[in-house]
Amino acid sequence: MKKTVALILIGLTIFLGGCNKEKKSTKDVLHAFVGSDTESLDPAKCSSAHGHMYGQCIYEPLAVLNEKGVPQLAAADKCDISPDGLTYTFHIRDNKWQNGDPVTAKDFEYSWKRTLNPETGSTYAYMLYPIKGAEEYNSGKVAADALGVKALDDRTLQVILKAPTGYFLGICAHQAAFPVNPRTVAAGSDWATKVETLIGNGPFIIKKWVHNNKISMVKNNDYWDKDKVKFNGIEFYLLDSDVTADAMFDNGELDFEVAPNQSRWDLLAKAGKLYEHASIKLTYYALDNGRPPFNNPKVRQAFAKAIDRSKMVKALTRDKFPIAYGIVPYGLINPSTNQDFRQEAGALFSESVGEAKKLLAEAGYKDGKGFPTVTLVYNTREENKKAAELLQEMIRKNLGINIEIHNQEWKVYQDSKQRRVYDISQCFWAGDYFDPMTFLDLVMTNGGNNYGVYSNPEFDRLLQAAQNTGDQKVRMEAMHQAEKILMDDMGVVPILFGKNMAAVQPKLKGFINPGNGSYSFKYAYKE
């Protein structure tokens, strides 16, 4: 009896041992995890960052961003900009849709009109507002033909802007500007839910989409730049659990894993598998400028100076993320000087507990006496909790001020922020495009995302000047001045800038991160 059992067990082990041969990554197929399932692969309706990443394999816009966040022509092979910066004339490259249709300028006109059509309900339609008539069309005030987008012929697309917009070519790389095939879209409203009708013009064709499981793509052998595309296929694993992603990466089943758990950073770095890159993201606290006590700039400045940011960066990001002494992150190039905007601006304020105490006293709250207890809200996440508790402790210790911290579920927190329920809101912003304006216009008077209701007419004037000229030297200078004013006023309290972290198998090369975590695998390969 015992012999039989033993034999059976041995047999089983041999049988099972040989079982798990597949699923280890092969050389010509990329196995990547960049996020969970996306709500849609229709570029006009997708609003997630990972959805954008899947989308940019399938669709090709007029331009794509390179490693420095600078747009390079893609679906267009020529672009003429008029001297006044208002008219862009694109020449569309010879390329085909994945169903054989030629890609034409009319397709782009159709797609952009569709994105801006109020009935489409696109959440990123506002990205195209620099175009003449776009905001009005999207608000239902004018008809589609008032839009400054016209296909002059099959190969020529003319775009007329409302005002010279220095970063417009970069916007053409955003998914709001991705083209869709008019014929497949017209054939059925669920075209984007089935792989047979999800037709793109990009380097990869989507072959299979199992929700919450996997997206499988194969190389498009009719793509115009196919010789530079090295992978024959991509498998995107739509994982919800970072434990699973970590395990799959360690097991060799993933070549690329975004945002590995912090606890693994050191181990990954030692093995040469940790990737890090500055990212245009900002974590800040919005203080309510519209009511006491934070309506007093001295109080806000005291608050900002009393925070030990290096302590926060160490505790929250293992000392990896950059400290923010301004609101425009690293990674945005000033085209007139070719320097990084943040680096040439430098730090716009400094920490000093002594000065903070002095400012607080000048505001009439010496050592925090008489200062009301203020409330803070953050959305429920472990890092945010840590940050809030650190802040609470620092402010109490350095200024004698009590902060009552509250955490709320995501949507409740958004709602509270918008209704200005709390005195302090922890906020987070990821840049939409590669120009300082995407951060600075957050705090324009009456801006939709200006939760702390900061308002300074001089700041607004400088930003408006920057929005109405194409002269990069003038714009950048105006934005530098505006940022300085904002930080002198301490309209919002910046804490740290972002970084994209990823786990990458050493053999994987050639992927591109323009500086916002939107990885492109078009030219990637495995050694």
Binding site: N20, K23, D190, L239, A247
Partner: protein, 310 residues
């Protein structure tokens, strides 16, 4: 029997209606809506979206529209997953969740009942003590910890199984094990207690006195009665496993319907929340009716409610 079933079904429909109405109201009371995002949408776009999904209609109109759709079998479009309908989301995920759920329940029953019987028959002895230890661990340790442990040991260290995803039997071993361990432990203990209780009854003593074999006493007399509590919990157990396997599905990237249930609330996806609630409630009600029908087959003393009672 038919009268009973019809009565229970009508009752169930009433309960379902109540659940839908309550959920509908509660959803609108929650702060934040389907289009509350981290960037405040320009008012024009927000208006477009609300018009598209008829969120600007008076509540009573939205309520009636929803029921009109229900009678047609249409659970409406998802607010979050553009262009997908709630019907298609449930149709995509439910079969997978069912597969995972039914196999887990079967495993729990197949191993749990015999384990409980053995435990009862050998109570006090070493078999019982070991099983008691194992069941306590099974009840106490959460499913997701078991899942992670299994993943680390069987996939990462021993390389016997793939880490995650869904497919042939290799992919199903770990999720089913993780999902069934807890219920298995519960069923074991329940069977044990119930069987011990039954074995102490007079009619069992009588059966032995009549000279029936151990086997006959166990199978024909003791077991059917011991199973009544087990049957009672099996109904909700199935419902719970099938739709509550969210964490396991999340860990193993299984394309089931559990994720839809939980993230729909986070997304304030009103139609999907309602759809999932209806799905889960209907399943639970149906299983409870089935359980009620099975009872008398096990114990003729339990009769269905007739006109004479209540």
């Amino acid at each position: 029997m038919l009268e009973f079933v019809v009565k229970r079904i009508l009752n169930g429909l009433m309960v379902l209606w109540l659940i839908i109405t309550l959920t509908f109201m509660l959803l609108r009371l929650m702060p934040g809506g389907p289009f509350t995002m981290d960037r405040k949408l320009p008012p024009a776009i927000l208006k477009n979206l609300e018009t598209k999904y008829k969120l600007n209609d008076p509540l009573i109109v939205q309520y009636c529209d929803y029921f009109k759709g229900l009678f047609r079998g249409d659970l409406g479009p998802s607010f979050k997953y553009e262009d997908r309908t709630v019907n298609s989301i449930i149709a995509d995920g439910a079969p997978v969740s069912f597969q995972l759920g039914i196999k887990s329940v079967l495993l729990s029953l197949l191993l749990g009942i015999p384990a409980g019987v053995i435990s009862a028959l050998k109570h006090g002895k070493w078999q019982d003590r070991i099983l008691s230890l194992v069941t306590v661990a099974g009840i106490a340790i959460p499913g997701f910890i078991v899942a992670s442990l299994l993943m680390i040991v069987l996939a990462l260290k021993l390389n016997l199984l793939p880490t995650a995803m869904w497919g042939g039997w290799k992919y199903q071993v770990m999720p089913i094990l993780a999902l069934s361990l807890g219920p298995m432990a519960v069923i074991t203990r329940l069977t044990r207690t119930s069987m011990l209780d039954v074995l102490g009854q007079d009619y069992i003593k009588l059966a032995y006195a009549k000279g029936l074999s151990d086997y006959t006493v166990l199978w024909k007399h003791a077991l059917p009665n011991s199973l009544i509590p087990v049957v009672t919990i099996t109904g909700p157990l199935i419902a719970g496993i099938v739709t509550g396997s969210f964490v396991i599905e999340s860990i193993f990237a299984i394309p089931g319907v559990g994720k839809a249930f939980v993230t729909s609330i986070y997304n304030r996806d009103y139609t999907l929340i309602l759809g999932m609630t209806i799905f889960y409630s209907a399943l639970l009600i149906f299983l409870n009716i089935v359980v009620d029908i099975i009872y008398p087959l096990l114990d003729p003393r339990i009769t269905m409610l007739t006109k004479k009672e209540a």
